[in-house]
Symmetry: C2
Subunit: 336 residues, 2 copies
Amino acid sequence: MGQAVTIQDVAKLAGVSPATVSRVINGNGVVARHLADRVRAAVDTLDYRPNAVARSLRRKSAAVWQLIISDIENPFFTSMVRGVEDVAHAAGCSVVLCNADEDLGKERRYIEVALAERMSGVILSPASEEESEVEPLLRRGIPVVTVDRTLAERPATVHSVVTDNHRGAQLATAELLGAGYKSVACITGPLRVTTAQGRLAGYRSALASAGVRPRPELVRVADYKETGGRDAMLSLLELADPPEAVFVANNRMTIGALAAARQRSVSIPGDLGLVGFDDMTWSALTCCPLTTIAQPTYDVGASAARLLLEGPPGPSRPAKTVVLQPTLVVRGSSRR
Amino acid sequence: MGQAVTIQDVAKLAGVSPATVSRVINGNGVVARHLADRVRAAVDTLDYRPNAVARSLRRKSAAVWQLIISDIENPFFTSMVRGVEDVAHAAGCSVVLCNADEDLGKERRYIEVALAERMSGVILSPASEEESEVEPLLRRGIPVVTVDRTLAERPATVHSVVTDNHRGAQLATAELLGAGYKSVACITGPLRVTTAQGRLAGYRSALASAGVRPRPELVRVADYKETGGRDAMLSLLELADPPEAVFVANNRMTIGALAAARQRSVSIPGDLGLVGFDDMTWSALTCCPLTTIAQPTYDVGASAARLLLEGPPGPSRPAKTVVLQPTLVVRGSSRR
DNA sequence: CTGAAAGCGCTAACAG
DNA sequence: CTGTTAGCGCTTTCAG
C-alpha cells in the first residue's frame, strides 16, 4: 500500500521548493540548469509520478478527453477510435471511451461523468438528434464535437464530423437500380438519429432521380442492430409483392438481413440484390460477397479530434461541419 | 463559461455549513430532515454537481475503473465490455475503456494514467505474460484483475478470469479429426500471450489423444490480426504436403485465413476443414458457415468485475483464477 | 531565477 | 445533530 510520493518529497530530496519542482516538471518558467538536474534526479530516484487529480483540481481541467460512442459492438465506431486516439496522444491528452449503447440514459450518465471529472473535451455520437443534452457541457466551457451524427438544436455551438449519408445511400440505391433490380427496399435506423434520416432521404432521392415510383411499404425503420435488421427483412419478404433488392443502412442490420434471407432460402444476388452501409473486414467473405458503402472511419475520428483541438466555435469562429465522402465498394451482392 | 457552482454556494443558499451539504449528498452521518430538504432544494435550484476531482483528491481514490483491452477492433473484447459495465454501474463505479492495441508501450501509458488518476481498480488483458507491468499499481494499492489472459509473475497477487483455452482448442482439433481430416494445422497468436500458448497446447494435446503424429511445419505463430492469419494460411497452402484442415486460434485471424483460402480457390469444407476460435454474429453467414469455439464473453467481463469488487488477494484471501468453459458450435466448415 | 503562501472543492475529524 | 477546521497535492501569483 505504498504511500504515494509527492512533490514535497521530491523538493526535499532535491533541496529546492515545490514550486521549482513544478516548474521543472511542467517546463514552465525558467530554472537554473543545476537545480533542474537535481530535481530530475530526485524524480527518478523516488519514482515520482505527479498526482493528476491534484493537478486537475488546481488547473480546473483534466488532460483527458471523453469519447462517447453509441455502440461499442459496432465496428464502425470502434475503428473510429484509433483516429481519435492518435490525434489526442499527439496533443498530450488521454482518451477515455464510454459506451452509451444507443441509450439516452447511459449517454446522460456519461455526460455527467465528463462534467464531474472536469474533462477537457467531449466527442459524442449522439443517441438522438433532439434529446441528447450537451448544454450542461457547453455551459461549463467544455468543448463538444459530435461525430457521425449531428444535433438539431446546436448548429452554432458545436463542431461536427459526418459522412455524406445522403450521397452514400444514393450510391447504394443507384447501384441496385442500375443493375436492373426494379424495386428497391430500404431498411434504415431509428429516425431520432441523423444518419438514419440522411440514408433514408438519399434512398428516396435516388428513386426519384431514376424515375422509380416510391412504395412506402418498402421502407422499414429498425434499430441499427442485428435483430432489427432480421425482422425488417423477414417482413419485407412476406410482402405480397416483395422487393427485388434492399439497401440496408448499417452494418449490424446487414448481418440480420443476411441471416433472414438465408433462413428463407432467398439467394443473393439472384432472388434479391443487397447493398449494405459500412464496409467490414469480412464483407468479402459472406456467402455472396457484399457490395457496401465504405466510410473513412479513421479520418472521421481524426477530424473530430482536430476540431476539438481547435477549440469551441465562437462569435468570430463559426461552428464547422466536416463532411467526408463515402465510397461504393462493388462486390457480388448487387449484380445479378 | 459558467463558473461551476461549489458546495459552498449550496451551503450558503441552504443556510447550512458545507459539511452538512456533504453529509446529505453522500448519505453519511445523520442530518435533520428539514435541513436535508433545504440542502436538496438548493442543490436543485443551483443545478449543483459535486466536483469529482476534488472529491477524489480528498478521498485519495476515484470511483472509476479502468478497463484496458488488448484490441478494440476485436469483437471478443468489445462484447466483454458490457459485462464489466453492468457490474461496475451497479456498484456505483464508472468504467473508462482504454485500447492498448497489443502494444506494450500503450499499455504502459494507460497504466500510468490509472496511477496518475488514482483509479480505484484496473481490469487488464495483458499484452504480454512476462512483460506487462502491473507492480506499480499493486504497490499503490490499486487492485488489478486480468481478463482473458494471465500474468506469469504474479499468480499470488492478482485475480484473473480466463476461458479454458486448452480445452477449447482440443474441442476444435478433435472436431476436425473426428470429421475425417487426416492432418490438422494450427494458426496461433503471439506466444507472449497466454491464450496463444494455451490454444497451441490444446491443439497438440488433441493430436496426441488421437494418436496423430504432430508435424511442426503445420504450426504457425501469427499476430491475432487479419493479415497475420492470411499470411499464415497462404504459407500453409504452399506446403508440398498441405494440411487437410486448420484450427485458427482467434476471430480476426480467421477472417484472414478465409480470405486466403478464397484467394487460392481452396473450398471449405471440401478442400480444407476449418474451425475458428470466437463465435461472431456473422459466423453463420460466411460462404461456408463457420464452426467455432464460442466464449461466454459477457460472463468473462462480469466475473472480472466481481473479482475487482472482492478486493485484492491477501494472506487470508488467495488469488482466484476463474476458468469459464467455451463451447463448440458446429456449422459447415468442419464437416465434409 | 527561486521560495513562500494561498487556495482549487471537497471530506473527515473534532468540537460543541 | 451541526459547524469549524484542517488539509488532500498541486500550481501560481507575488515578493524577494
